[in-house]
């Protein structure tokens, strides 16, 4: 088991090195102009810094959105697990509606539509957070519901027999077990969220994708700049997924 995991770790690093090496070697051909991001020149350094600075909003946006969507998702899931038929219907309706709207459409609607509808001011950051969190919460709700339902019925009975209330049962007995089981799925959602955050570039959020777009307009070197963009997401998501796997291993004990 241990050996197997070690092997996966190595091969992943190797694949990344290979990709980077191919990209750098390809700089020898005529089609590539790596000078736009050449760190040994002043302008190259500036461009590189400009691209990398997008990490700030990509990470901030994704983390804020996923925190909100996990909390909302949990609440929606609890509605779905209730004995009350009306609350279960609320859960189903929410999940079905939100899940059917494409993230990009939701972003446009929240940023351009919602302010008119509700007569409020909303800035790009919070519009992005709201749209991503809304979209993700439906998936989180389904994940939590599956996790809670996977916990043995005997656990509820034991909790009841030592006098725990419904909320205490959830908080101390059921959710701690459910979360351990759904951690891989939650990790997937975080990765998904990081990638979806690139869509918020359409409303002008200065995150990774937007920065790359802006630089392409100035430098006309789309191949190199978008390649850097690919690598940025690749590195970010690989770090996140190994962090999730580390947490999984730790919680197994």
């Amino acid at each position: 088991m241990w050996v197997h995991r070690k092997f996966v770790g190595f091969s992943k690093v190797r694949i990344i090195c290979l990709i980077i090496a191919v990209l750098l070697l390809s700089g020898c051909s005529d089609q590539w102009g790596w000078y736009v991001v050449n760190p040994s020149t002043e302008s190259g350094r500036d461009n590189l810094y400009f691209l990398l600075s997008g990490f700030y909003y990509t990470i901030l946006l994704s983390l804020t959105a996923i925190s909100i969507s996990i909390i909302t998702g949990l609440l929606i899931a609890l509605l779905g697990l209730s004995d009350n038929k009306f609350l279960r219907t609320v859960n189903r309706t929410y999940v079905e509606i939100v899940r059917s709207v494409p993230v990009l459409v939701l972003i446009l609607w929240v940023y351009y539509g919602l302010p008119q509808l509700a007569d409020i001011q909303i800035n790009v950051f919070w519009a992005g957070v709201l749209a991503l969190a809304l979209s993700d919460s439906a998936f989180e709700a389904e994940i939590f519901r599956a996790g809670v339902q996977s916990v043995n019925k005997g656990q509820y009975e034991a909790a009841k027999s030592v006098g725990l209330s419904y909320l205490d049962t959830m908080r101390y007995v059921i959710l701690p077990q459910a979360v351990r089981r759904i951690l891989p799925a939650l990790g997937n959602q975080l990765v998904y969220m990081l990638k979806m955050s690139s869509l918020v570039s359409v409303i002008g959020m200065p995150e990774l994708t937007r920065k790359a777009n802006e630089l392409v307009v100035v430098e006309y070197r789309s191949l190199e700049i978008y390649t850097i963009l690919v690598l940025e997401y690749l590195v970010l998501i690989l770090i996140v997924s190994s962090a999730v796997r580390w947490l999984e291993r730790r919680w197994k004990n």
Binding site: N152, G154, Q155, E157, A158, A159, K160, S161, V162, G163, L164, S165, D168, Y172, V173, P176, Q177, R180
Partner: protein, 254 residues
């Protein structure tokens, strides 16, 4: 002895009166009536499918009943939260599959109920927990997780967890059925000691040697009905119904 005085004067700790339960149209409990007095040890036996477990699960409201009445300490159970409190204060339960909380240590398993439901401080709850762990003879396992223990040890932890709520009556739902043969005795010993110390108990079990040693009252059930109920001596020496005779003969053959 105080138990004898209670037997005459106070209402029974548990009274079931004409209790019926249905799953859809199928009747699983048929007009069950029984009384359990303070200090009484009742053993319920019968073939599988007799609804023995469902009967005791009705007492602590893990199952609802549709007809009849159940009283604890003279108060009728209903859907109210005061009823739930009454059950929690009076009734402990030990399950066939232990149902320990796998993500908590033994000590945390024991202190969760006292801290959350009885509002004990952590230190007080731990004192109580250690006292009962000593009583079930595994204080040295306090900081382990359930999966690190043998089945017999896990069931003893489950007994201690129930005792930490200091109930007046303990329900045992086939507590040794999921255990390897060599671990059955350590659990039965703990249960016998509890009985000797005056705990009121209702046990669903097939351990007839244990029943002979501990039970005041034997109940024999089949198809959701009580077919025979009486003092243990009479039950074992001269069972009345044919069905009960056949059952005893079968399980005591070896």
């Amino acid at each position: 002895m105080s138990t004898i005085k209670h037997k005459n004067n106070s209402p029974p700790l548990i009274r079931m009166s004409q209790v019926s339960k249905f799953f859809g149209k199928f009747q699983v409990l048929k007009r069950i009536s029984l009384d359990v007095k303070l200090g009484e040890k009742m053993v319920i036996c019968g073939p599988s499918g007799a609804s023995k477990s469902i009967l005791i699960r009705c007492i602590n409201q893990l199952e609802s009943h549709q007809q009849g009445k159940i009283y604890i300490n003279g108060t009728e159970l209903d859907d109210s939260s005061s009823s739930a409190k009454l059950v929690r204060q009076n009734v402990g339960m030990v399950f066939q599959n232990f149902n320990l909380f796998p993500h908590l240590t033994v000590l945390e398993n024991l202190t969760l109920g006292p801290i959350r439901a009885r509002k004990f401080s952590k230190a007080d709850a731990q004192d109580v927990a250690m006292r009962y762990l000593e009583r079930v003879k595994i204080p040295e396992q306090a900081y382990k997780y359930p999966r690190q223990l043998s089945g017999g040890q896990q069931q003893r932890v489950a007994i201690a967890r129930s005792l930490c709520m200091e109930p007046k009556i303990m329900l045992f739902d086939e507590p040794t059925s999921a255990l390897d043969p060599e671990m059955i005795n350590e659990v039965l010993e703990v249960m016998s000691e509890l009985a000797d110390n005056g705990m009121t108990m209702i046990c669903v079990t097939h351990e007839m040697a244990f029943a002979r040693r501990v039970a005041d009252t034997m109940v024999f059930m089949d198809h959701g009905k009580i077919l025979e109920k009486g003092s243990a001596e009479i039950f074992f020496e001269s069972p009345k119904s044919e069905r009960c005779k056949a059952f005893l003969k079968k399980i005591q053959r070896y």
